[in-house]
C-alpha cells in the first residue's frame, strides 16, 4: 500500500524575491533533497541571467557582444531564443533591448557606458550558430527580467520532476508553476483590496504569473510609473494596474504578463495561440478576462 503524501515547504531569498518550493512526497529526505536541487537550479539561472550581477553571463554579453560574438551557455541561449520568438509574435512589444531606458529611469543599475543614441530593437541582436550572441550596434544591452524569473521557476520544476517528486509548486514572488496530480490553491488578490482574494485558482500542471504596477513604482516628476516600457513609444506606460496570466510554463506566463500590460488590445489572440489566458484590472477598476480564461484554467487542472 502506498503511504500518504506529506507536504514539505522551504523558502529562500533568490531572484530578488522570496522563492518558496513545496514538494509532496511520502518520504521526507527525498523531498528535501529534491527541494535543495530545485533551489540550486534557480541559483544557476540567477548567476547567468541577472542584469543586477556584474559577473553574470548576461552582463558579459552586455559588455562585449558588440565588440565580438560572445559564446553563452545553452540555457541562456534558450532563453534568448524564446525572447526572440516572443519579440516576433508580439510584433515587437516584447523587447529585452529596452534595458537602457530602464537604466535611465532607475529600474536597472548603470553598469555600462553610454547607451546607443538611435532606436534599437531585438532585431539588432544576432543569435548565431554555436550559442553565440552578437550586437549590431554599440551601446546596446539586454534585460531578461521579463522572462528569466519564469525560466528559473521552470528549471526548478524540472529539477523536482527529475528527482522523482510526484507533485510540487514553485513560487517566485508571484511567478509560479505547479506539476503533478495535486491541485494547489492560488489566490488572486484585488489590487486595491488585497485583504479579500478575488478568486482562488486550483493550479495543477500550469503556470501563473502576475505583473502589477506598484511593485516597482518610482515617483518620477510627480507621476507614478511602472517598469513597463513600450518599445514603439519609448516610454514607461501601462493602462492596466494588474495583469495575471495562466500558461503552460512559467517563462511564457512571465513574458506574457508584460505583453498584455503593454498591448492589451492585441494580446488575446496571441494568448489563445499559446494556450494561455489572462485576467486584467484596468485603471477604472474593472476586472476583465480573455474569453478562454475558464476553459484554460480547467484544461490544465
Amino acid at each position: 500500500m502506498k503511504s500518504p503524501c506529506d507536504e514539505f515547504s522551504r523558502a529562500r531569498p533568490l531572484l530578488g524575491t522570496i522563492v518558496e518550493i513545496t514538494a509532496r512526497s511520502s518520504h521526507q529526505p527525498d523531498a528535501e533533497q529534491a527541494i535543495n536541487r530545485a533551489f540550486a537550479a534557480i541559483a544557476v539561472v540567477q548567476r547567468r541571467m541577472s542584469f543586477h550581477d556584474r559577473n553574470s553571463m548576461l552582463s558579459r554579453v552586455n559588455a562585449e557582444a558588440f565588440a565580438r560574438p560572445i559564446s553563452v551557455d545553452e540555457k541562456t541561449f534558450q532563453v534568448l531564443g524564446m525572447a526572440r520568438d516572443l519579440y516576433v509574435l508580439s510584433n515587437g512589444v516584447f523587447d529585452p533591448t529596452i534595458a537602457p531606458y530602464l537604466e535611465h529611469t532607475g529600474f536597472l543599475p548603470r553598469f555600462f557606458g553610454k547607451a546607443a543614441g538611435k532606436r534599437i530593437s531585438f532585431a539588432d541582436v544576432e543569435l548565431l550558430q554555436g550559442s553565440r550572441v552578437r550586437f549590431r550596434h554599440a551601446g546596446m544591452r539586454l534585460d531578461l527580467g521579463g522572462i528569466a524569473k519564469g525560466f528559473a521557476v521552470d528549471e526548478a520544476i524540472a529539477a523536482l520532476r527529475t528527482a522523482g517528486i510526484e507533485s510540487a509548486l514553485v513560487n517566485a514572488g508571484g511567478d509560479l508553476r505547479a506539476f503533478g496530480r495535486h491541485l494547489f490553491p492560488v489566490e488572486i488578490r484585488h489590487p486595491v483590496r488585497p485583504e479579500r482574494p478575488l478568486a482562488v485558482l486550483p493550479i495543477g500542471n500550469q503556470a501563473v504569473a502576475t505583473s502589477a504596477h506598484y511593485f516597482a513604482d518610482r515617483l518620477r516628476l510627480g507621476a507614478r510609473t511602472g517598469p513597463f516600457v513600450h518599445p514603439g513609444f519609448g516610454q514607461l506606460r501601462g493602462d492596466l494596474t494588474s495583469v495575471t496570466v495562466i500558461a503552460p510554463n512559467a517563462m511564457l506566463a512571465d513574458a506574457l504578463t508584460k505583453i498584455v500590460m503593454l498591448d492589451p488590445g492585441q494580446s488575446p489572440a496571441l494568448l489563445q495561440r499559446l494556450s494561455a489566458a489572462a485576467l486584467i484590472f484596468d485603471s477604472k477598476g474593472s476586472v476583465l478576462c480573455t474569453p478562454n480564461w475558464h476553459e484554460t484554467l480547467k484544461a490544465a487542472a
Binding site: S9, T17, G173, F184, R196, D217
Partner: protein, 174 residues
Amino acid sequence: MKDWIPFVAAPAALASTAVPGFANTYLTVEQAQQAIFPGSVVTPFRITLTPDQQKNIEFRSGVRVRSRELKVWKVSGGGWFIVDEVLGKHEYITYALGLNAGGTVKQIEILDYRETYGYEVREATWRQQFVGKTIQAPLKLDGDIRNISGATLSSRHITEGVKRLLATYEVALR
C-alpha cells in the same frame, strides 16, 4: 479592447472569506540547524553586543542594529549558525544564516514569516507585534498572486539582515 469579457468569479471564490494576513512556518530552529549543517553538533554561544560593537556593526553594514542580544550557535568542525529577524511594514521574517568557518555565507533558510497589509497596519495595538518600517512602496504586496503560502515578500530586508550579520561576525564572532 473588444476581445476582453467581464470576469465573473466562480461561486466558490465568492464564498471565500477575508484573509487578514498570512503566516507560514517552514523550519524550526533545530530543523534549520540540521538542514544547513547536517550531522554537525551545534552549541549555543551566549553573546550580547556592547554599545561600541553595535555602532561598529552599523557603521560597517549601513544597517541599523535593533537588538544587542544575538541568537548564535557554534558549529562543531567550524562555522556559525545565527537566527535573525527582519521586520517590514508588511512582513515579519525569521531566518537562519549558516556561516562557513571562514565567515562566508553557507546557506540561508527562512524559518517563518508573516505578512499583512493595508489599513490594519495603522491599528496601533495590532502594529505592536510588527513594529518596523520599510523604504519600500507601501502597496508593494498588493495585486500580487500568491498561493496559500504567500509569495510577495521582498528579499531586500533579508539582504540587509545578512549584511548586518556578516558585519556582526567580523566585529564580534571572528
